[in-house]
Amino acid sequence: MAKKTKNFSRRDFLKTSGVATGALIGGSLLGGLIGYNANNSKTSPTETKSGEHKQEAALNKGRMFFTNDREFQILANATERIFPKDDLGPGAIDLGVPYFIDNQLAGQYGSNSKEYMQGPFASGAPTQGYQSNLTRAEIFKQAVAKLESEAQTRFKNGFSKIEAEQMDEILTAFQKDEVPMKGVSSAFFFRLLRAATLEGAYADPIYNGNNNMDGWRMKGFPGHQAAYINVIESDEFQKIEPKSIGSMH
């Protein structure tokens, strides 16, 4: 009982603080907490009784890598263009993808700790793969600054303040390798960003993306199910409510 009350007051706080932060940022696309709140509005098709669970999950999120909100919002807005909100359901921001990527950059993924990082470094042929001496954390940090400076150069505005089509123009330039970067190509960063966005949309929610398992819901993927032995021979398509491995304890 006590726990419930606590949840309630947390939720109230969240709503207020969300709106407040939103006003402060004033970007064309809302990120982080705000996006999450928007998703929670009464019109959202994903609003279910598990909504409370969602609240809890969002509250426990935080930045572990980016130190300032401006950089975090640039990342957030870029991921949203890759995986936009539409009539099928939430986009990258509502799914928590920016938190997923930020948190991953703070760990093994960001420091490439399971990868061969000895020199000498050479750029090599595309068939030889990743040859940068930079870690993913360094690449993302540099690329976020580049997204911002490209927005300033092209549109005299911050990346988070430009129109969606203008963001797309910049991201396309990255994809086509037209943006000079140091120690890595912009095309490589783009592929990294695209992959990380999909990972954040569809990884188990224990990684702070795929909020409320809505990424899975859109795709009809049931997440962690113990077994399909009882339905594997069925000729009918099976619609199954998804489960996270976080539900196991």
């Binding site: 490439n112 994809q175 009809g220 199910q225 399909y228 032995i229 021979e233």
Partner: protein, 570 residues
């Protein structure tokens, strides 16, 4: 500094399928075996939260830590070789069970044609079917000679299958367990293939259809079709792997000691024998010498080759002169196929690693190649291994790879696309080989292995032909749009293709043709055995491990024989 340990009968380098089989057989025969495994201990209890695509399938939790060791790669001799810094094209194993922990379990016997490929190809098509840039050789052992060992491996693993494929070799007994369940998706393939006049059958599987106790007393459970199989360990103990079969069998004898975090850096040789191995404890940095009567290399294709090269055992292949056999015959596989787009939804996310149906009507020499510019072919199959959302984002060709349209299509297609594909055979070529890298080193100061590899004309022709056949099946299955896989050109080490690397330590009838004899005993060092897909003279049209397992049983017999008689076994 280096501490020398008490001598043992047998030491294996690595404890995956090959190391585990050697350990089980040798300990049962009374020999004392030490297994040096550079990864960690693991087993069924570690897989209770394994249904995590991101950790296991995307970030490769169970696989080799490349920060310690990788290989270098180039497409041809003119290019500088650069390190494979991230895993991609193939996924190397590490830890107890090796890749056998996270394999799919599709378990095949190579065809009679594979073992006598030179003789049979020349007999039917003459000596010039392929140019002499290709290296075609018989394996030094026929299918019939290897049959008892296939039988043994399948009984250890409890393979689930049905013997109704007209194209494979004679079997001395039926599969130990019945085939897996036939799903809606599989039935669609079956009826389409039958209509086209082919001979579909259930894929032989190490995800067992029912609980099974193997001849060594090891218990394997029934597969639950959980959909997290390939790249994952099995939380049910239902996927046959070394940790649930041969490793406990060896441990039960009290004669098997596995040492973890033990990275072997050298095989020690004196005269025409080896004396043991040198290894580093990767936790403490301490170095040890483990003396042994017999050394068995069971560290997969790449490290078996590398350890022989750095220990200067055998003559390295020289692509200029064609001399030397060590590192020669590196082969891979090529993956033709077709994707079909449907309106109906299918349970694509359910499945098991080896749940599938296949045809061999275009594998080996089961079809006439007289008017074709390639030999061999591939096993064409449909598998239902469990699609996962991070990896599976299918869109029609020419769709942007991101944004609204991509999102829409990739979500829509997740349960509405099916693929038919083949494992295309790969024939040795004189420019495809393994050597030692002159620049890059592993964490212990040992040179990395260097891979020089590219697709050949034979590969490109085979890929095109089989992709077309796959597309025809897909069309017959009723797909509204069929997209054949595009033509291959340069081999690219970035996208995942297959972990079916072969060659480098080829078996042969004569010392001139290979590195080991048909007991996998080294031609130049009688108490050294080298076991794995490295022994393949070319790569066939199936997954390799059924054949690797059979060869490991053959080698174990050789080690036991050798420990009684000494000398060459052939």
């Amino acid at each position: 500094m280096v501490k020398t340990l008490p001598k043992v009968d047998v030491v294996t380098v690595g404890v995956g399928w090959t190391g585990g089989i050697i350990a089980a057989e040798c300990t049962k025969a009374g020999l004392k075996v030490v297994g040096l495994e550079r990864g960690q201990e693991r087993g069924t209890e570690d897989f209770s939260m394994v249904h995590d695509e991101y950790r296991y399938a995307i970030r490769y939790e169970l696989m080799q830590n490349l920060s310690k060791e990788t290989i270098t790669f180039r497409n041809n001799r003119k290019m500088p070789a650069l390190p494979m810094r991230q895993m991609g094209s193939f996924l190397l194993g590490e830890g107890l069970g090796g890749s056998g922990t996270h394999w799919n379990g599709q378990t095949w016997r190579f065809l009679p044609y594979d073992f006598q490929i030179k003789t049979m190809t020349e007999k039917k098509y003459g000596p010039n079917k392929l140019s002499n840039d290709y290296i075609l050789q018989d394996w030094g052992l026929t299918y019939d000679q290897l049959e008892p060992y296939f039988d043994k491996f399948e009984k250890t693993a409890g393979i689930s299958g049905e013997n109704n494929n007209p194209h494979w070799g004679e079997r001395s007994s039926d599969y130990p367990t019945p085939p897996m369940k036939k799903t809606h998706i599989l039935k669609k393939f079956e009826s389409a293939a039958t209509k086209l006049g082919y001979h579909p059958f259930m894929m032989p599987s190490a995800n067992l259809s029912e609980p099974y106790t193997n001849p060594d007393g090891a218990q394997i459970n029934a597969c639950q079709y959980c959909g997290f199989c390939e790249r994952f360990g099995c939380e049910y103990g239902a996927k046959t792997s070394p940790e649930v079969t041969v490793v406990p069998t060896a441990r039960k004898t009290g004669k098997f000691d596995v040492r973890f975090h033990a990275n072997v850096v050298e095989v020690l040789k004196s005269g025409n024998k080896v004396t043991g191995v040198r290894y580093v404890d990767t936790l403490t940095g301490e170095e040890f010498i483990q003396p042994a009567e017999v050394v068995v290399l069971t560290s997969y294709v790449f490290n078996n080759t590398k350890l022989l090269m750095v220990s200067k055992i055998g003559e390295q292949y020289n692509p200029d002169t064609g001399k030397g056999t060590l590192g020669r015959n590196y082969c891979y596989q090529i993956l033709p196929g077709a994707t079909g787009f449907f309106d109906d939804q299918y349970n694509t996310f359910m499945g098991a690693g080896a749940l599938g149906m296949a045809i061999d009507d275009f594998n080996g020499d089961s079809f006439d190649h007289s008017n074709l510019d390639f030999i061999h072919g591939g096993n064409i199959s449909i598998t239902q291994t469990g699609s996962r959302p991070i990896a599976s984002n299918v869109a029609l060709p020419d769709t942007p790879t991101w944004g609204a349209e991509f999102k829409k299509q990739s979500i829509h297609n997740f349960t509405r696309t099916l693929s038919v594909g083949a494992q295309g055979a790969s024939i040795s070529h004189k420019e495809n080989y393994l050597s030692l890298d002159g620049t890059y080193k592993d964490a212990y100061g040992v040179p990395l292995l260097q891979l020089t590899y590219n697709f050949t004309k034979q590969d490109i022709a085979l890929h095109k032909f089989i992709s077309e056949k796959s597309g025809e099946i897909m069309k017959e299955m009723g797909a509204k749009t069929v997209v054949n896989r595009g033509a291959i050109d340069q081999y690219d080490i970035v996208p995942y293709q297959t972990t079916h690397n072969t060659g480098g330590t080829v078996m042969s009838l004569t010392p001139e043709e290979g590195v080991v004899n048909n007991y996998l005993q080294h031609w130049d060092a009688e108490n050294l055995f080298v076991v794995g897909a490295g022994n393949f003279a070319h790569n066939g049209g199936y997954n390799p491990t059924g054949t690797v397992g059979a060869l490991a049983y053959r080698a174990a017999e050789g080690v036991i024989k050798y420990s009684k008689t000494s000398g060459s076994l052939v």
